[in-house]
């Protein structure tokens, strides 16, 4: 297997609780190229968040390995920054301080104080949140919090940006705004991004490739769909675009025909 920029090789994950083993992931292999935007989609409980946590290094794989830029990954680190589902901003710090915490840690000795300040402000500008830099997380809306969460992750200058259902807790309109913001950032900076989602439209709109996972237990990659839509993409134009609709249909068919979610199948 030729190694990609980021590659997951034969990842197995088994959780053990009270002596009963449950197999979550089985033989998950995936390669992601530099600058690529990949979504991982699947029904809830299929282990897609587990995949992301293994890439982030927050969970250890039972067997298999993750390589990033030729190096083996086995612990969390800022080169794989995570945008957490519920933003995870520290409530006692202001927006500025939250990002500065990351910047001062990651760029200690590499940037001086003034450069660090500029870098914080630059990332706040990227997500259009510079106006709220002195606010606390409790004083801003959910969408704004997630913008700050994205800015914090970007400020670490990661090799891969990991987005764990970043817009799941937001209302539809705010979600659309943030999707546009992420698309714009991806176009400007060319980051490699991996996003976990359960929203079909979101996956098709944002991704170069969509990784569809089968249902657990022992979930694996069912299909990988290329999304051959030119960028920049516009959600209104795409609404009647034939390729877009085809991609959407393919994902829907996978999720609702071939791998229907059976609830409480224990």
């Amino acid at each position: 297997m030729a190694q990609s920029y980021l590659s997951l090789e034969f990842i197995d994950k088994t959780f053990e609780r009270n002596g009963t083993k449950s197999e979550v992931l089985k033989q998950v292999s995936l390669g992601v190229d530099k600058g690529e935007f990949v979504s991982i989609i699947g029904h809830s409980g299929c282990g897609k968040s587990t995949v992301l946590n293994i890439i982030a290094g927050l969970i250890d794989a039972t067997s298999g390995a993750v390589f990033l830029d030729g190096k083996h990954v086995d612990a969390p680190g800022p080169e794989r920054a995570v945008v957490f589902q519920n933003h995870s901003l520290l409530p006692w710090l202001t927006v500025y301080e939250n990002i500065n915490l990351a910047v001062s840690k990651v760029f200690r000795g590499k940037k001086n104080k003034a450069e660090q300040h500029d870098w914080v402000m630059h990332n706040l500008d990227l997500v259009q949140m510079a106006h709220a830099k002195d606010k606390r997380p409790a004083e801003i809306s959910g969408g704004m919090k997630q913008r700050v969460g994205i800015a914090r992750a970007l400020a670490m200058e990661p090799k891969v940006l990991l987005l764990d259902e970043p817009f799941g807790a937001l209302d539809a309109l705010t979600r659309a705004h943030l999707q546009d913001a992420v698309m714009e950032i991806h176009a400007r900076l060319g980051n490699t991004m991996i996003m976990i989602t359960h929203d079909v439209d979101e996956a098709v709109l944002l991704s170069d490739r969509i990784v569809m996972m089968t249902n657990g237990p022992a979930a694996k990659i069912g299909e990988v769909l290329e999304v051959p839509i030119a960028r920049p993409r516009n959600r209104i134009e795409l609404a009647s675009d034939r390729t877009y609709l085809k991609c959407r249909e393919a994902v829907l068919k996978f999720l609702y025909e071939r791998h229907r979610f059976v609830e409480a199948a224990e």
């Binding site: 920054a81 995570v82 520290l90 840690k105 670490m156």
Partner: protein
């Protein structure tokens, strides 16, 4: 076509609304007056009910204790009998013959010392118990048993150890206040959300950075809950401890007044004890809000 026409109509309807904005200079003036009356209304709403209740209670007390054979003095009699005590809080006499201010100050000094020691040791032990599974298994049962020992039960033991009243009283304060601080700190540390720990992991914070930047601020609301319970218990314990150790202090003052049958003085002292206890509680809550920057719901 019909849609665009609709748009035009709407925009026409919108235009008069835009003109309303022109009136806005008048708004601030009106709102300042409104805000002032609103503030005054809120103030009366918070201050009036307790004042009314207090007046009613004092009235009831006056009526109940008005008979000459009553064993307890009525408020009017308290005022007349203890007038000297009330108007001379800074009186300096000999021995324990001091104004109320000096008694309270002596008690506060003991509480400050014992409480400060309890806060430092309590937070340190709480962090240990909250962080380490083994420390928790080893120490928690001991803490759970020791914390039920009443404060005064420690006094004879500490008198035996220190052979002096003052350090014994301080030790009683310490041992009374430390348990809620330990337990709440430990709970706070154990309840640090996984999200914050993940953030720390992704940033590769070292142990020292994690302690200062995540652990203490995240646990601060819990720690201050413990500190607030602790200050209340300290103030409860000091009165009892001072009754036994003697010397200048509000506890001994009350005991001395009882021995001299100065019931009115006791009532004056109780008012002081209550007010000071309330202020101490508010002080810790205020410091808590300051330190946690409003994330503590104190």
């Amino acid at each position: 076509m019909s849609v665009t026409q609709l748009n035009i109509k709407e925009s026409k309807q919108v235009s008069p609304k835009a003109q309303v904005v022109a009136f806005s200079p008048a708004k601030p003036r009106r709102s300042i007056v409104l805000m002032a009356t609103e503030k005054a209304r809120r103030l009366t709403a918070t201050v009036l009910p307790p004042l009314l209740t207090l007046a009613l209670l004092v009235l009831a007390w006056e009526i109940l204790c008005s008979s000459p054979t009553s064993s307890l003095p009525a408020p009017s009699r308290v005022l007349s009998e203890s007038w000297e005590l009330i108007i001379h809080p800074f009186h300096v006499g000999q021995g324990v013959d001091q104004g109320m201010f000096w008694h309270i100050a002596a008690s506060l000094q003991r509480v400050a010392l014992g409480y400060a020691l309890a806060a430092i040791a309590g937070i340190a032990l709480g962090v240990l118990v909250g962080q380490s599974q083994w420390a928790m298994r080893g120490l928690d049962p001991i803490f759970q048993i020791l914390r039920t020992v009443p404060p005064l039960a420690w006094l004879p033991l500490s008198l035996a150890a220190f052979r002096d009243g003052n350090p014994s009283a301080i030790f009683v304060i310490f041992i009374t206040a430390i348990w809620p601080v330990i337990i709440n700190t430990a709970v706070g540390i154990r309840n640090i959300p996984q999200d914050y720990q993940n953030v720390a992991k992704v940033l590769r914070l070292n142990g020292f950075e994690y302690f200062g930047k995540i652990m203490l601020p995240a646990a601060a609301p819990y720690i201050f809950t413990g500190l607030r319970i602790g200050i209340g218990l300290s103030w409860l314990a000091i009165v009892a401890a001072e009754m036994l150790i003697g010397g200048v202090g509000i506890g001994f003052f009350i005991w001395d007044a009882w021995n001299s049958s100065l019931i009115s003085d006791i009532i004056v002292a109780l008012v002081y004890v209550g007010v000071v206890g309330f202020l101490l509680d508010r002080l810790i809550a205020f410091v808590g809000r300051l330190v946690t920057r409003g994330t503590a719901n104190a």
